[in-house]
């Protein structure tokens, strides 16, 4: 489970659960849980209104595309991970 959860900040609102493209998150009352199908796409990180989710740097990239050999960085989270109000540098 690569996504880090700040359980103090979490509002248990389910925004991440319904936005997850791989349906990898479950919410029960005030507890969210990721399962192994998570692909670290970062959608939940961006969607979270509480800023309670983070992707560690190693999950963000840069990665090498196995087919083309091109380097890429995940689109959603900021590279430097700083909260700049939704707009990455």
């Amino acid at each position: 489970m690569p996504v880090e959860i700040d359980r103090v900040l979490c509002l248990s609102c389910g925004a991440c659960v319904g936005s997850c493209p791989t349906e990898s998150i479950t919410l029960v009352d005030t507890w969210i849980e990721f399962d192994d199908s998570c692909i670290s796409c970062g959608v939940c990180v961006t969607v979270c209104p509480a800023a309670a989710l983070r992707l560690p740097e190693k999950e963000i990239g840069p990665f090498k595309d196995p087919k083309t050999g091109e380097e890429f960085v995940r689109e959603y989270p900021c590279k430097d991970g700083t909260p700049k109000g939704g707009v990455c540098e």
Binding site: G18, A50, C78
Partner: protein, 395 residues
């Protein structure tokens, strides 16, 4: 493992689930409702504005137990501060009452139980299997692990629906079709209490800021932003904090509650049922993409679902064929509006702050009866024909 059987299992005791349960139970259907939370409706995830007209239609008596404020009108406020004021008749869905959503949800659940539904809280569905003659659902919770066999299952499990995926109904949303929301309930603020206010423009990319009055110097101050227009983390909070700081009537207030959530803002999905599983409410993406309002639609669809299921149970044949009228029934009632408001929302996304200002200015001086998309366009056409050229595809 405990084994249970029922005619209809409702997963999720929100407005959609409770309304479906109520209408089916009133006609003698054997209904079981399960709710994963320990307390129905809490924590709240909503702006809490509800239309008056709509309550009448569902035969719900307004009750002080869940109404915090009656609101006469709505105002749309442009980026430069131009105000478009609307009375209830014009604003339609978005005026009437500001409620306490947790108490409101509990009230609807009680109505369902009074009609004869069974209810189990702190009980969560963990899986679902379609059978030849119904649906089997596994659950866990305070009643222990259970296997429930139902003739029909209603997935009213909200924005984060699991039932949809289990039943093979694709309701997944790309970030373009998700608005993520944050709301502060604030006290000691100086808002205009007789209005629900909507702030449009770049203060909330792809969405809007709302200030819904709770009375007594309190209001829900919330924001919805389109997820695909955010990056990194903390984006929604950044925009809301910026808004609060910028407006003196808010910045001196105190936050007494924080509410999060998300709504779908895409077009309605292709299908909302499969086999003997029906989706209702947010799970079926029955949300107005322009306003983000969903309570009314969920209850409306729930009423359709409850009656269709009762018909099927009464006929003795509960299969996809017999349940199909649900799909056409709810679409007849709201699909046109959902599609139109989705298109309008997509158009609004492309508007600059300056464009918003011009529209509100144009509308201010025109008498309009009702604020539907068409009425707005017709009014704007009279005042500022140039504007309408840019909106031509909406007409």
């Amino acid at each position: 493992m405990k084994e249970l059987t029922c005619d209809m299992l409702v997963i999720g005791a929100g407005p959609g689930g409770s309304t479906t349960a109520r209408y089916a139970a009133e006609r003698g259907v054997d209904v079981l409702m399960i709710e994963k939370r320990q307390e129905i409706g809490a924590p709240v995830r909503c702006g809490e504005g509800i239309a008056r007209i709509w309550l009448n239609e569902l035969g719900i008596e307004p009750d002080d137990a869940w109404i915090s404020k009656e609101v006469d009108g709505a105002r749309v406020i442009s980026p430069s501060g131009h105000i478009l004021e609307m009375n209830e008749k014009m604003a339609g869905n978005e005026t009437g009452y500001v409620v306490e959503r947790d108490l409101f949800d509990q009230y609807l659940a009680r109505t369902a139980v009074k009609a004869g539904s069974e209810l189990m809280v702190k009980t969560m569905a963990t899986g679902l299997k379609q059978l030849d003659d119904g649906v089997e659902v596994k659950t866990t919770g305070i009643h222990g692990d259970m296997r429930i066999k139902a003739k029909v299952v209603v997935g009213a499990d909200g924005f984060e629906s699991r039932v949809a995926g289990w039943a093979g109904i694709d309701t997944r949303l790309p970030p373009e079709h998700v608005n993520t929301c944050l709301q502060y309930r604030m006290m000691n603020i100086g808002n205009a209490e007789e209005f629900n206010d909507f702030y449009a423009g770049e203060c909330a990319p792809g969405g809007y800021v709302w200030v819904f009055s709770k009375g007594d110097g309190e209001a829900n101050v919330g924001i919805g932003v389109q997820a695909s227009l955010l990056n990194g983390y903390g984006g929604v909070k950044y925009y809301l904090d910026k808004f609060v700081k910028k407006h003196p009537f808010l910045s001196k207030g105190t936050i007494i509650e924080v509410v999060g959530g998300a709504v779908s803002v895409g077009p309605p999905p292709d299908e909302t049922m499969k086999g003997n599983v029906l989706l209702v409410g947010d799970a079926a993406r029955q949300i107005d993409a322009l306003t983000g309002g969903g309570v009314v639609n969920a209850c409306d669809a729930g009423k359709v679902a409850g009656n269709v299921i009762a018909d099927a149970v009464e006929s003795g044949k509960v299969n996809e064929e017999a349940l199909k009228p649900y799909e056409s029934g709810w679409r007849e009632r709201m699909e046109k509006m959902l599609v139109r408001n989705y298109i309008a929302k997509e158009k609004i996304l492309t508007m600059s702050d300056d464009f918003f200002d011009r529209i509100i200015l144009a509308l201010q001086e025109v008498e309009i009866e009702r604020v539907t998309t068409l009425d707005i366009l017709t009014a704007v056409q009279k005042k500022d024909p140039e504007l309408v050229e840019e909106l031509a595809d909406l007409l």
